[in-house]
């Protein structure tokens, strides 16, 4: 359909390529080249000084075997946490985006602005704020203990729950914004027509709004899930010794253990799993375009 519209444009042959060149050139130099050397590293053996190793490319697939066998748990854990966080973000984000798009009236833009605000408080500062809120002596824990949801010795900080909560929180705007954008584009006349003809309750939503907002849900899910799966800040600040995610492992491999080939292999496995996930998800949802 875009093609139909494009026919009206005169320079459609050259223009898209010219427009694409800057981004592609930039990413080629500052993304593909480093990634390529990383790929080679992941298939290399090292020799010489541990600290400044010489790498020999040797199709060393065992690096991948090591990465998988040693850190399978962390991979699973990362994807479970990221999945839960994405789901939670969707459950919180969609209704809010919906209300802002359709029910906020003249407060729409104000609300939208407010939703983006947390973005501007640095990630680390936001996460530290959660530490204050969820502290063992804080009011949240005290309240839950009084109500009886938490036992007297229970705590929230340093649990898997806190990590998932942190992930949900930190990436919620990534979920909300694309959904909002896709909802906002829906022609209001359509919604009204559907509400008149269908019952105004669930069916208009299910038949009209939901399908039209799916691209937003798709983009939001990806933008939430991907960084959540690779994150390590939340696990570090809000988690415990038993909630380590794969991001931490990669970090430690690079910085402390200094096994660069395995670290590189871990990174590639993470990227590959995410990428496969993206493709499968795109197929399932039937979205023509990626993100």
């Amino acid at each position: 359909m875009a093609g139909v519209a494009a026919e009206g444009t005169r320079k459609s042959r050259v223009a898209p390529y010219l427009l694409s060149i800057p981004a592609l050139a930039w990413l080629a130099v500052f993304f593909v080249v480093p990634l390529w050397s990383l790929l080679r590293t992941s298939l290399s053996t090292t020799s010489g000084s541990v600290y400044l190793p010489e790498q020999t490319f040797s199709w060393e697939w065992s690096n991948y075997a090591t990465a998988f066998s040693t850190y399978g748990t962390q991979f699973t854990r990362s994807f479970v946490y990221a999945g839960l966080a994405t789901l939670a973000a969707l459950l919180l984000g969609y209704p809010l985006a919906y209300v802002i798009a359709f029910k906020a009236g003249r407060f729409k833009n104000v609300l939208l602005g407010l939703v983006i605000l947390p973005f501007f408080v640095t990630f680390l500062v936001r996460t530290i704020a959660w530490k204050t809120i969820l502290g063992d002596d804080g009011w949240v824990v005290s309240l839950l203990q009084t109500v009886g949801i938490l036992g007297p010795d229970d705590h929230i900080l340093s649990t898997a729950f806190a990590v998932v909560l942190g992930l949900t929180y930190n990436f919620l705007p990534f979920m909300l914004l694309p959904i909002y954008v896709s909802l906002e584009k829906i022609d209001m006349r359509l919604v009204e027509a559907a509400s008149d003809l269908y019952s105004p309750g669930g069916r208009a939503f299910r038949k009209v709004i939901l399908p039209l907002s799916l691209p937003g849900v798709f983009a939001g899910t990806l933008l939430t899930f991907i960084p959540a799966a690779g994150d390590f800040i939340n696990a570090q600040y809000l988690g415990s010794a038993n909630t380590t995610m794969i991001g931490t492992v990669i970090q430690k491999q690079f910085l402390i253990i200094k096994d660069y080939p395995v670290a590189a292999a871990l990174s590639f496995v993470l990227m590959a799993i995410i990428l496969i996930g993206v493709l499968v998800y795109a197929r399932v949802l039937g979205t023509e375009e990626i993100a």
Binding site: V4, A5, A6, G8, T9, K11, S12, P16, L19, S20, P22, A23, W26, L27, F30, F31, P34, S37, L38, P95, Y98, K103, N109, L114, L117, P118, F119, F120, V121, T122, F123, L124, V125, R126, I128, A129, T132, Y169, L172, S182, A193, L197, S199, P200, G201, K207, L212, P215, L223, I226, G230, I233, G247, Q251, F254, A264, S267, M271, I274, E289
Partner: protein, 298 residues
Amino acid sequence: MTAATRAAVPEMHPATAETRVAVIEKRFVPPRWLRRTGSVLLRMWAYFALVFLFLPIAVVVLFSFNDPVGKFNLVWKGFSLEAWQNAFAIPGLTSAFFTSLQVGAVSTVFAVIIGSLIALALVRYRYKGGAATNLFLVLPLTAPEVVLGSSLLVLFLDMSWPTGFSTIVVAHISFQISFVAVTVKARLRGFDWTLEDAAMDLGSPPLRTFLRVTFPLILPGIIAAAMLAFALSLDDFIVTFFVSGSEVTYPLFVNSAVKTSLPPQINVLATIILLVSLALIGLNELVRHWRTRGLPVG
């Protein structure tokens, strides 16, 4: 309706088809009170989400007025304006803060230009390699930050490019581009491009068409992308860490501060960014208002 206009609003077709079906089938209509309750519940849930979003922010702002006794601004001790009066009393923090703002501004300008161009290409034209480009653009989003950071560091070293301000900017642009492209694309999709064609048909030169028609159309999307890109830059810790040389950004400072002391000035500066952002959002609203009114063709 011309062929081009119909193509620009393809969403009409499935819905109208569905509508016809719906008229034929008579379905159960829930009573008014049930609908009302549903609507109220929906709103309450949305408010809950808003509270969730704002709770930590409120804490950050509140604790900028704290009067901590020791080194860690984590437990409420009492109200004080001292940190605000001495907002810039910590030289390391202040310079890190301004470094971050500069990095954010410069990288955002570059990333928004580069990213919007490719988004425009992808939405506006169907061309060979377009789908592959789409996929390629998502790749950087899948790369863990530690991977980006460490591999970029080696690249800069190979290029004998001393790490510091410029390398941070380059690294930030590298991850911002994809986000900008995705955001702008989302905004542009389903736009009514006939305006542009119409302007061209009427003999407007491409440059003028772009300035007076296309640009105002895509501006809100670009502004949204710019805010996102700026926020991402301001937020980034891991990639920055690797390529920063001896430059210290705000997140780098916070990360080290966490280990030894958390002065309330951190919260004060965070609150200042928050207020400035609020002002910018307001400004954006004004611009949008002005744009819609002043749009020559609309």
